[in-house]
Amino acid sequence: MSASHRDSRGRPIVAVTGLGIVTSLGQGKDANWEALTAGRSGIHRIERFPTDGLRTTIAATVDFLFDRPFAAPELSEKLATLAAEEAVAQSGLGQPGDFPGELFMAVPPVEMEWPQKQELAQSIEGVADYDALLRVAARHKHKAMHELFLFGGVAEHIAERFGTKGSPISLSTACSSGATAIQMGVEAIRRGETQAALCIGTDGSVHAEALIRFSLLSALSTQNDPPEGAAKPFSKNRDGFVMGEGAGALVLEDYDHALARGATILGIVAGCGERGDGFHRTRSSPDGKPAILAMQDALADAGLTPDDVDYINAHGTSTPENDKMEAMSCSAVFGERMANLPISSNKSMLGHTLTAAGAVEAVISLMTIAKGRIPPTINYNQPDPAIGLDVVPNEAREAKVRTVLSNSFGFGGQNTCLVLAAEPKAA
């Protein structure tokens, strides 16, 4: 193969050659796809920690990976490892422990957790304040806690395990982090800096304080019963998101590099768009302008127009504000077409996997293209008259999907959109 392929702007085309996923619905693409297209929810009552006195007692936690207590970074790392193993194996790229590309990881912010602080406090007499904790720490008998709670720890361990090249990137753009990890991988390949990238979004941080923090911001659904009915994106009675856990991993590769080694091309990341929003710390601009621009940027980056999009994988958190803003922004971008353009929210089943969501949903979007079937928005029983969308209600739908727009919006004015598409037709 001597001809080199370039996108509409003359840049290397970024192929996807491996996909991996772990969520509350199970481990691996097959288990997740089966559950997602059956409209099954992974949201359940929390058993990981006592929920006494909490307004929200449900989450889409991943409970099948440890049979001992663990800290959030341990679960995040485990989730990422499993998703990456699946993706790298599918890609057939490199050798075990020697991945020939860079690592871009969306990881949740970490800090020391209560069980570890309690462990230190055990040997303290009197008030267990930070000076007392520091005196315990100074004995240097708890060295492992340092590494456990470093922000760079999870990505460092993944880099070591998979043998990725370069300085591993740990990043956060809040709830759009997973999409940003993919975007950074795309950029590195387009720069010609690397021919492959392992892009991962992971989040295993549902613990009491994390849940309480979101609860105090009134961001979470409190409709605990039944748990699987709580996440109701685009419904009139939606009342907040449900925390979820999971990981999504993608092997990105220069298209020509993938072709040359005879790899199966699962699709391409055709375009990325991102915009900041200086309006408010948690709320989006009421006019939806940053989200609109991010979608338009992603399409322009892909050299496509709104008419080329077959399906939108929504951010669709099930909060009153997000879903309204997203619907309005989509209508602004897609115009009258929006009434018939399918848009569904994986979060109706997976909850909001936060840092991981953009990557998890990119994996599902690429599976949607491959399978020709759109996972539904479940719990859609009370349509919101203000949101006139085709949300693929309650049941999966057969459809020919070549191009997906995947939206991710986050606290702090983060708006990231990806255009994911089927393999280019023979050029």
């Binding site: 800090e111 956060s172 950029e187």
Partner: protein, 376 residues
């Protein structure tokens, strides 16, 4: 093919004060650092010189919504934007990309201590923890703690509506941020980027994290490269932001150019004795021949072994260079350490203290970085 990347804005704030002149002067004079050995004893640290926050963060409501590290970062970012002549330029601020190297926010130390103390005797610890957190955590504390909310606050306070990304991972986050910004501009993926970070050293929760691993110096102050009696970090509160810009864009708008960032590299060595020196050697060798009178600014931590390796790498690459440890001036600022060091080097070039500089930094636990700056 690659475009030149220049520095058109430098925002610096630390224990020494704020601004290019203050820091360039301190670097030129080998000024004595400001060290507080009492407040967090036995851990010395460099406390932030109080800022007139109103000058960069006019609204009290914004100031209240932030933690000290975020205020420091927003302040330093404001200085950089002012210096680059961008603060009032809405068009430029809509194109401006932001890359922040960040950790997380401060715990409420009093709440934590009360809960931890109570937990020891609680009959139902889980329920007790829930009850206390529900009633004692400030709802907005979370937002003041989120890593990406430094970038979010820069957007809100300074009206930057370009997109932001927050990189994490202690010192290497600062290296990755600078390297990524440089690479994106050089490749034409962005024209102008605000990059930097901020670190508040005056918090026991961070001292706790580093002390758990045995990475803090507990004796009094000693220069970074002469701590073999008691190796370890002396942290310092500092924030630095740089406006990096494509040279042609800077020229077109007649911007003042402080320096050209000719190279920026990031590396992950599998740490073992000698690996840090090799990593830095390789990066520095790739920068090409250095001027004999170059300045070497080091973001070294003072931690055992790696600090000596960094010194050796600097000596090998630039044997006649004047070596300045950022830690000796303002302390070790973790995520901000590398951006602060780049800012110091740029300030030195801008004020004529040096004509060329290399910047190095081996993180306390993982990651190595290097950069080269030349006169524009």
């Amino acid at each position: 093919m690659a475009r030149d990347v220049v520095i058109t804005g430098i925002g610096l704030a630390s224990s020494l004060g704020e601004g290019i002149e203050t820091h360039a002067q301190a670097l030129a004079d080998n000024a004595a650092p400001v060290v507080d050995t009492e407040r967090f004893a036995p851990y010395p640290l460099h406390p932030l010189k109080a800022l007139e926050l109103d000058r960069q963060i006019p609204k009290k409501s914004d100031q209240r919504q932030m933690e000290p590290w975020q205020r420091l970062g927003v302040y330093a970012a404001g200085l950089a934007l002012d210096g680059a002549g961008l603060k009032q330029d809405a068009e430029a601020k809509s194109q401006l990309q932001v890359i922040v190297a960040a950790g997380g926010g401060e715990r409420d130390h009093a709440v934590d201590a009360a809960i931890l103390t109570g937990l020891r005797d609680a009959n139902r610890p889980g329920a007790f923890l829930n009850e206390r957190l529900m009633s004692d955590l400030r709802p907005t504390l979370f937002l003041a703690q989120l890593s990406n909310l430094l970038a979010g606050n820069i957007a809100i306070v300074h009206g930057v509506t370009g997109a932001s990304r927050t990189l994490m991972g202690e010192e290497q986050a600062g290296v990755d941020a600078v390297r990524t910004a440089h690479a994106r501009i050089a490749a034409g993926q962005a024209d102008i980027i605000l990059v930097g970070g901020a670190y508040n050293a005056e918090r026991r929760d961070m001292l706790l994290l580093f002390e758990l691993g045995g990475y803090l110096r507990t004796a009094g102050f000693a220069p970074v490269f002469t701590r073999s009696d008691a190796p370890g970090m002396i942290t310092g509160s500092a924030g630095a932001f740089l406006v990096l810009e494509a040279a042609e864009r800077a020229a077109a708008r007649g911007a003042r150019v402080h320096a050209r960032l000719s190279h920026a590299g990031a590396h992950r060595s599998r740490r073992q004795p000698g690996s840090v020196a090799r990593a830095l050697d390789d990066m520095l060798a790739g920068f090409g021949p250095l001027a004999p009178d170059a300045l070497a600014v080091s973001a070294a931590t003072g931690c055992a072994g790696i600090t000596e390796e960094e010194a050796a790498a600097i000596a090998k690459a630039a044997p006649d260079a004047r070596r300045v440890a950022t830690g000796d001036l303002v302390g070790h600022a973790v995520e901000a350490a590398f951006p602060v060091s780049i800012a110091l080097a740029a300030a030195a070039l801008s004020t004529g203290v040096a004509n060329e500089a290399i910047v190095t930094g081996a993180a306390h636990w993982r990651g190595e970085g290097a950069a080269r700056l030349v006169k524009a």
